[in-house]
Every structure is written in C-alpha cells, then in structure tokens.
Assembly symmetry: C2
Homo-oligomer: 361 residues x 2
C-alpha cells in the first residue's frame, strides 16, 4: 500500500533533543531517518554513528545541502529558537514539511511568518511538543470532558522546574539571549502554558499577568518566572517554571466535581506506561478526620513512546498531503500559536510591571 | 504523679469543628472534657449528648457562665472569628487558657490584643491548626532541613480548595462578613499560608502580592483568591484557595536538590497513618525518555490523630504553667501571628490593586 512508504525525514542540527527525536523517527512505522545535517560534516557523521542512523542515511555538512535534497520529505528542526525563522522559512520554500522544536519561534510575529511560508508552499508544520501525543493525555482529556465526574473547569496549576548545574547556567543554549533566548519560559514554561491551554480546550485566556520576582541572568534571559491566566468566566490558571530548583513536573486541573493530578506530565516516568490520579466528589467522614473517597490511579499502557507517536502523527499528516492531496492540518499549528501568544503575554507583563496583558487571539 | 491529672477544658460554642475537638479532648491522655456552653442551654445539652461528653461535664446556657467556673482550666473557642476578640480577652481575664480556632482574629491588631490579654493574665494561647502536630509534619520537616537531600529551599506551592454547595454559599458562617468574614482566605487559605511559613522555618516573606481575579460574594467575603510571597533571598511561594472548586489539598516544597509533595497536607486521608513523597536529585536516562529515580513514598503511623496531638500539646503547656510555674509558651502564638500578618497582607494587596505589600514583622 502506498501509505506505508515511510516519510523521509532529515534532521537539521545535532542538538541534544535531536537524539531523542532521531530514535523516535526510527521507531515510527510511517517515517524513516534519511539524513542529518550540521554546519560541520564531521559532527554530522559522528551524530549519525552515535545515534545509529540507517547506513543509507545521508550526511550533510550544511543545512542548505540537506534542504536541497529532493529525497527528503520533511525535516526535524532542533535548532536554537532564534534560528527557526530563517531556517523554517527556507525549509518551507524548499517544500520540506516541518517538525520544529518548541518554542517554534521567538514570538508570535515570527511564528506567523513561518506558518505563512508553510502555507504558501503547501507544507505541514507541527511543533515538537511530545506529551500531547501520549495516550494518557487523551485519557485525561476524557476525564476533563466528563461533566459528571469533572464538572466545570475552575483551576489549573502547573509547575515545571529543573535544577540547572553551573555548566548549564554558563553554557547551555537555553541561557543565551541570541540562541534560546526565551530561557526557562520557552523551555519548561512552554509545557506549562501548553498544558493549561490543553485543559482549557485551547480557549485563550482573557488576560495574562506575570508573577512578580522573575529571575533573569546577567544577559537578560529568564531563569525563573510564573504567571496567572484568567478567563472571562472566572477560570484561572497559575504556573511556575524555573531552572533553579529540583525537578518538579506537576499538573493539577480542578473542576467543580473532580480533580486531575499528575507529577510527570511532560515526560512520563516510564516509557511503556503512564499514570494520573483523579479524585471525584470526595467526602470526609462525619467528623472530617478521614477521607471516605481517595484519589484513583489510572495507568495507561503505550506500545510506542510519546515522541514516536508525535512523529507518527506528523508523518501521517505529511503522507496525506504528499499522497492524497490533503491540505496541511491547521489544528496543531493553531495550538502552537496560542501557546506562543500566551508566552509573549508573560514577557509583556514582566516588561510592563506585572500588569495584566489582554490576549487578542 | 501530679502531671497526669488532666487539664479540664470547656468548649465555648457548638460549632461544627467543636465536635472534632471535643473528641480530641476526650482522646488526649492529659485533658478532659469538662463543660460545654452555648447561648442556648438546650443546644448545649444536645451537643453534650451527641458528642458523648462525660456524665459529669457541665452544661452552660451562656459563655460567661462557663468562664466563671473555677473548675475549668482552659477553653476551646470555636466561635466565629469576629467574636474571638471579645470572648478571648474575657476568657484570658478569667484566667482560662485558650485553644482558639483559626484564624484566631480578624487581623493582627486584634490578635495582638488577645495575646496581650493572655500574657497579662498568665494564660497560654494556641490556635487550632491541627496538621502542625502530626508526626508526618515533623518527618517532612526533617526532610526539608536535610541539606544533603533537600538542598536550599526555592519554591512552595500550595492549593487548598473545596466545593461549597448552595446552602454553604448562602448560610455558612464562612461566607458572612460579620462572622467568619475572612472567607476562604481565613478558612482554607490559613492553612496554605501556614504551610508556606512552616516550610520557610517561619521566616516572614519580604513582600506578599495577591493574585488577580479574586472572587468575592455579594457581601464582600472572599470565595476564591491567591497570592505570591517573596523572600529577599529569591525564595518564592504561591498559593490558591477557593470555595468554588473540588477538594484539592496540595503542598509541594521544592528545594535545589529535593522535592516534597503531598495531596492531603491538612487532613490526612487516614487517621492512623499519613504519607508524603520525596524526590531527590532525580535523573533521566540518557535520552530523557524515562526517569531513573522515582518519588519515594514515606508513610508515618500515628497512635493518636493530629487533633488529639494538638490538644495534648496544649494541655502539656497548660499543665506546665499551672503546676510547674512555667511561663506561657510563645512559639505557637508567634506562628499564629505570622500567619495572620501574611493574611492581612493578602487582603491589603487585593485592596491596593494587587500591588506587593511589604511585611513588617
């Protein structure tokens, strides 16, 4: 069958995350790892070896060369965020479908230019947010959509932090203003915002107000920050993200009747299964000294890890365009854009003395 | 031995919480339930019957009458917060030691008047925060004090909400401005603030800024709110409290090396044991698809429930004053006062357009 011919994906850059995605491309049943490019041919070759690229995968010493290759359908772009605009637009112009690392752009204006280039050239764009593709995420959504068990949404709380060591804080691209200049907000905060929007069925908040006392490094890159999001109907969400404290990856979504809670929302503790808890309509005993109903743990098995499911979804969309004349999917980039909008608003709020910023979708 | 003669405690009012504390007084080895007072003698008698008071417990039809009884050493005061000042001062003047429900006062100025009356009359004051007396709390504190496992404190996040039904929202004393006029902030928020201060070794934050979009009822009582607390050294804490969403009782304390997490910090799920998790220096596998170290669950048994341990501690302090000439303990009221100070600051911040309020200890 035509649709099992795998989509040929090239990797544009040897970033850390490219190792994980390269494996995911190899594991995805409808994709194949066709090329690697780096500005250094030696580095590209070493990356291909270290990550067990297929023997026939091509190795390029420049991004342009890979983009010129007519045997590549799509690229994974793990470059620093500040380079996305240039290379994503060029990739689109070269008719390469685009799986771009998050955040896809430095701001929504840049993102819109990238998307415009994609639509102009009939190529798919999807960002590299993996957890949205996990079957656990779909199962959790069923719970949030269940008005009997969850009720109406009221509050989301998300916290994603990690402790960066001194080498990271000095040298990592995520602390360099000219590379991943959005710092922890673009890295871990992206997932917090994304999870909050996911829980809100991607309805944008009315306002976003940054929490006070964000921490920047000397170059002005965010190392720690947070924000509150407010919807017109009274729903609220709070998040905190930081490179300055121990790994914490919590997501709590509270409705009028039920609560969803997990502590590994972005990277599940295990590859083959993942859990979350729900607490529905809890009651105490008469004297309120004991809980009569306890949180229930739900465990979801998955044959393929979430990053592979992401690649599979991307390749499925690309195959549809390439073979069936489908239009590029606009659902995934719409999610990316909303996440990027909120991210912009957090920065604007910090720059405006923590005043709430109105979100204009 | 003299010190096993139980401290005789009278209960001033038939509030819901008085049922739990009455049982705790009965269970405490060094206290005895000696009297109940209500403005209605019938109501007091019914309360004594329903809560299995000892046959020799006295039943009073006025608070004054109980306070005049020379055979009462101490009172539990579960009255609405707005009545505390009047009755707590009178109780102190009548030389009754005081276990007062939280929040002990409407604001720190009132609290200081109550404490002054207690010190003037040589009586103990302690507020009714139960969870601080649970052995789990002490065990968690050991973790937070362990610089090898926890590192330096960075972030506290606490969320305590419950879904009030329409009867509660119409009739409960916690939504009446002239009764428990501090609403959810004084009720559930008290515990959030208290837990944050506990995690900070009771070091007051430098500033407190309320989160935007608090919800008040028509009478101006808080039904939902939150705040960020900031310390000079960069530590931060965020909390949210509400009567408008499903029961959530989370506390997460993140240090540079370790994270403490629990979802029932204020009322443990079981009376005889309670758990928390710690995650220390976690690592992913090489590709960051699996956690190599997982949160560890710690379970602490307790022979007596936390509210009984609270009464036991209170009675121990009272016995020391009464029999050994000890001075009233000032540690517990200092904690109450700090909690009350932060609570005042949250309200001040809401009233001042969410500006940060400086805390002057």
């Amino acid at each position: 069958m035509a649709d099992v011919i795998p989509i040929r994906i090239g990797v544009l850059g040897c970033a850390e995350i490219a190792r994980k995605v390269s494996r995911a491309i190899q594991l995805a049943p409808n994709a194949t790892l066709s090329a690697i490019a780096s500005r250094s041919l030696d580095k590209a070759a070493a990356f291909a070896r270290a990550n067990r690229f297929p023997p026939d995968a091509k190795v390029y010493g420049s991004y342009e060369a890979l983009l010129e290759d007519p045997d590549i359908d799509a690229v994974h772009m793990p470059l620093p965020t500040s380079l996305h605009l240039r290379w994503a637009v060029l990739a689109a112009q070269k008719k390469k479908h685009l799986l771009v690392e998050k955040p896809p752009a430095m701001n929504v204006a840049e993102f819109d230019k990238i998307v415009e280039a994609c639509w102009d050239n009939g190529v798919q764009i999807m960002d590299g947010t993996m957890w949205l593709h996990h079957p656990r995420t779909h199962k959790m959504k069923e719970f949030l959509n269940d008005t009997e068990r969850f009720g109406k949404p009221a509050l989301v709380n998300s916290c994603f932090t990690l402790l960066a060591d001194s080498d990271f804080l000095k040298n990592d691209i995520r602390v360099k203003p000219d590379l991943d200049g959005l710092g922890t907000l673009g890295d871990l905060g992206w997932y917090c915002i994304n999870a909050i929007l996911w829980a809100a069925d991607y309805e944008l908040p009315e306002t976003v107000a940054a929490l006070r006392a964000p921490v920047h490094n000397d170059a002005g890159v965010l190392l720690s920050c947070g924000a509150s999001l407010h919807w017109r109907d009274g729903r609220i969400a709070n998040f905190h993200t930081s490179f300055l404290s121990n790994l914490t990856m919590n997501l709590t979504v509270t409705g009028t009747k039920g609560t969803l809670h997990l502590t590994d929302f972005n990277i599940p503790q295990r590859e083959d299964q993942a859990s979350f808890t729900t607490l529905v309509n809890p009651k105490y005993n008469d004297l309120r000294t004991t809980w009569l109903s306890l949180p229930i743990e739900h465990t979801i098995e998955t044959a393929l890890p979430q990053e592979t499911l992401m690649v599979e979804e991307f390749a499925r969309l690309v195959a549809g365009i390439k073979r069936n004349g489908s239009k590029p999917d606009k659902t995934w980039p719409a999610i990316s854009r909303k996440t990027q909008l909120v991210l912009d608003a957090v920065i604007a709020s910090i720059e405006n003395g923590f005043e709430p910023i109105e979100i204009l979708g």
